[in-house]
Structures are given as C-alpha cells and as structure tokens.
Symmetry: none
C-alpha cells in the first residue's frame, strides 16, 4: 500500500448480532482495513459473540470505537459513502464498490479520510443517515436476489479497496478525467476539505436560522425539507473555507435590519 494513506473507516450503524460484528472484523482484516466504529450496537459492547466470531481478527474489535450517534462516529471523516444493496430513490451520486474506492483513493491520498457506512442487518440505513453521506455505494447483484449480509457487504467493499491499493494484477487504470483535475485544483493551496463535523456545524446553523424565520412550513414537511437541503450541499465536496463562507452568508442574511 502506498505510504501515508489514511485507511478508510468502516462504520456500522445500529448493528444487531454480535456474530455479524465479528464477521465484519474478519472481512476487514482480510483486506487490511482496521478502523471499525460502531454506532449504538443493539446488544451493547463489548460483545462475546462478536469476539467468538472474530477469531484471528480480535485486534480490530479491541480497537473498535463505540459512539452514541452517527454524527460522533464520523466527525473526523470527510467523505462518507452509504452502502446499500437495494437501490434507493435518493438524489445521491451512486457508485459501485470499485468506482467508490477509486474516488476514495484519489482523495485519501490527499489526507482526506473516507468512510464506508453500513446499516443494520435487516433494515439497512435509514434515509436520514444516507442524506448525510456524499454518495451511495450500491453493490451490483442479481435483481432477483440482492440480499447480502452485513459482513459480505463489508467483504466486497474491502476487497475492492485492497485491490485498488495493492498490485494484485487487476490493473486499476488511473483516473484522469476532468473531475479529477478539478478536484486537484480545488485541493491545492489553502483548500482544506470540510469534515463531517464542519458540515454538521453548517447544517445546524442553517437549519436553526431557517427555523427562526419560519421556513419549515408546514411543520410535518420539515424532515424531508431538511434532507433535501442537506443533499443539495453534499452533492459536491466542499472545502472548510467554503463552509466558513456559507456560514458567513447565513449569518449575514439572518441579521435583522440593514448592515452598517
């Protein structure tokens, strides 16, 4: 693997069975991923079933971090990918595992931390979490039979990550397209990427300012209005500077009266 790469984070949101957490640790270790984070695991933590299943990958469980909320778990991550087996009707850029790791790799190389987000066993990820992610990884399967278990999904994403970062003879062609170019320009100089925490700070600021002004009307539509707004600003990765600019805009606009 190239020097200095930030290894992507694997986040399990509300995982249920310990066995699946243990199997996830094994799948991660198979492919050199080691940063596991759990959001409110159903059966608490530590979990004996997880340890029993992880045999050989215990080190990953020992280092695993547990958080109460998704926002805490990903606060230091910059690029979030929600993994889904079903197609969702959300306006998000959708990647295959292979194309997502190419993008991650291009980004992580520049000290951007990527994060693969997996939902609970049956329910998957809820739309509010997906709305906070920059993209969706859709694992291509037969449309007749798309159900994959949690550890299998992690395995397939990890497999692609490993291949993209090691010379396995698979030949991942370097991406040289316009969007790479734009990204590189964008990332030059002072352009530190916005972290999830930066994004959430902006969303909190914007949404509470809008709330004060009665924007979310009728009230029962607020959740979907919030999701649409977040999606709009997450379509394209923003820099920390751009987020500061947007917060300045919100602050200025919500000021009462005219400026001095």
């Amino acid at each position: 693997m190239r020097e200095g790469l930030l290894s992507p984070v694997v986040v399990l949101v509300n995982p249920q069975m310990g066995e699946n957490i243990g199997a996830t640790a094994r799948a991660m270790k198979n492919f050199g991923l080691d940063d596991l984070r759990l959001v409110a695991p159903r059966d608490g933590w530590p979990n004996l079933q997880a340890v029993a299943m992880a045999s050989g990958a215990d080190s990953i469980l020992e280092k695993a971090q547990v958080f109460d909320t998704f926002a805490q778990a990903v606060s230091d991550c910059h690029r979030l990918y929600a993994t889904t087996a079903r197609s969702r009707d959300l306006r998000k850029q959708t990647f295959t595992p292979a194309s997502a790791v190419q993008i991650c790799l291009r980004d992580t190389d520049k000290t951007i931390r990527s994060c693969f987000v997996f939902g609970a066993e049956r329910a998957g990820l809820d739309n509010d979490v997906i709305a906070l992610c920059h993209g969706i990884i859709h694992i291509p399967t037969s449309p007749d039979f798309w159900s994959l278990n949690l550890a299998q999904s992690v395995l397939l994403v990890g497999y692609e990550w490993f291949q993209a970062t090691h010379d396995t003879g698979k030949n991942p062609d370097a991406l040289t397209n316009k969007s790479t170019q734009r990204r590189e320009n964008h990332l030059n100089g002072e352009a530190e990427p916005a972290s999830h925490q930066d994004m959430m700070g902006f969303f909190d600021h914007l949404e509470s300012a809008l709330d004060t002004k009665g924007f979310f009307f009728p009230p029962h539509k607020k959740p979907s209005m919030v999701r649409n707004l977040r999606t709009l600003f997450l379509q394209n990765p923003l820099t920390a500077q751009e987020i500061r600019t947007l917060r300045g805009v919100v602050r200025a606009l919500s000021r009462d009266g005219e400026g001095e």
Copy 2:
C-alpha cells in the same frame, strides 16, 4: 448478460458443513450463477442445514448435482479454475478473480464451459485436484490474514463474474458515464436543469440580499467575494427546483424578525 453464454459451474469438492453449502447457494444466486455441483459432501445429500441456510436460494440446491468423484463432476467442463486463498507452489497460471472471469468470458463466448472449483473448508483443495485444473484463482488478501470461508470465496468470484457480464459501471470510464447518466436521470422528469438565467437570477437575488446586510466588506473585496460565491454554487450542476429552494432559503433568511 449476453445471450447464449454458458453460465460457469461452481464445484465444491468434499464440502463439510451444510451451512456453508447453503451460504454458497445464496452467494451464487446473488450473482446469477446457478449450476452447483458437489463432490462427495461429508454429511451426505440432501442436507437440512444447507436448506435452512439457503433461504431464498433453495432453487439452486434443488438443482444441485452430487458426484462421487471430481472427474465425474467436471466431465462436461472445458476450463477449470481451482480457487485458493493461500498461494501454492504449483506451476500453474495464476489469476485474480477479475482476470479469471475475463478469460472465462472470452472462452464461454465460444461455448466452452468454465468451472470454478472450491475445496473443503479447512483443507482447501488437494494438489491432485489442483493439478487437473487449467489455472488457479488466487484471491488477493492481506498476507497476515488470508483465511476466507467457502461462501465468501464463492461470493468474491461470483461478484467478479457478475460485473464482467453486466454493465455495472465498474469500469472507471463507465463511472464518468454513469455519473453523467445519473445526472441525466436526475435531470429528467420533474428535475429540470437550472438554466444560466436561473443561476443568474439566484446570484442577483443572493448578492443583493447580502449587499443589504453589509456582507461585502471591505467594499473593494466585493468582486472577488462574489466570484468565490458563484464558483461555490456552480461546481455542481443544480436543478431548477434546487435553485427555487435556495432562493426560498435566501428569502426566508433575509426576512426581518421571526417567522409567523
């Protein structure tokens, strides 16, 4: 999938636990493989554990054929690939799953039947069986932790087969197309793209609202501040609806006092 392709065969040699056979059937069905053959399964056949585990992929178990010997199981196959997680010191051509499916695909196109061969859970394939195969599929894993279970190995090979035979957008070039595609879908139906006029209407609205609130300070920096803001919103093509949303945001925020 292309017409007239012979679907590759999956052969399990001396599989032990029924659960693993059932999980293999599921992995095959995820990726459109349906020809499962078992060589002398340890616990006989049919196997209740296999059926319990295969839920949803029962059809593959029902059609599965059982043979006494490896030679019988593969008698109608033309190209045999032995799958191993460990590297073996055998003089065989070794493929990644991705490169093996490319070769299979080239061959099956010529009505040659390919076959992926998997060994028993712990022992793997014995060298005599490997010696009968045309090539070895070595699944690239971390050298520290190469152990994959049977169904996981089938899953990874099946995944590559599926991607090679379906347009899943795996090819990085296809990625651009796909994301363009998504964007175009996105822009279909109600999602009319924002015109330049829409964008300029939004910029005029935003900038004059900001002007009223004294945002552009010091005044000589206004031109570059305006350029930066415009750049931020132009990075990603927005829809006309998104522009209406943003104008609603600006309108709400710049309202004096609290909303009704």
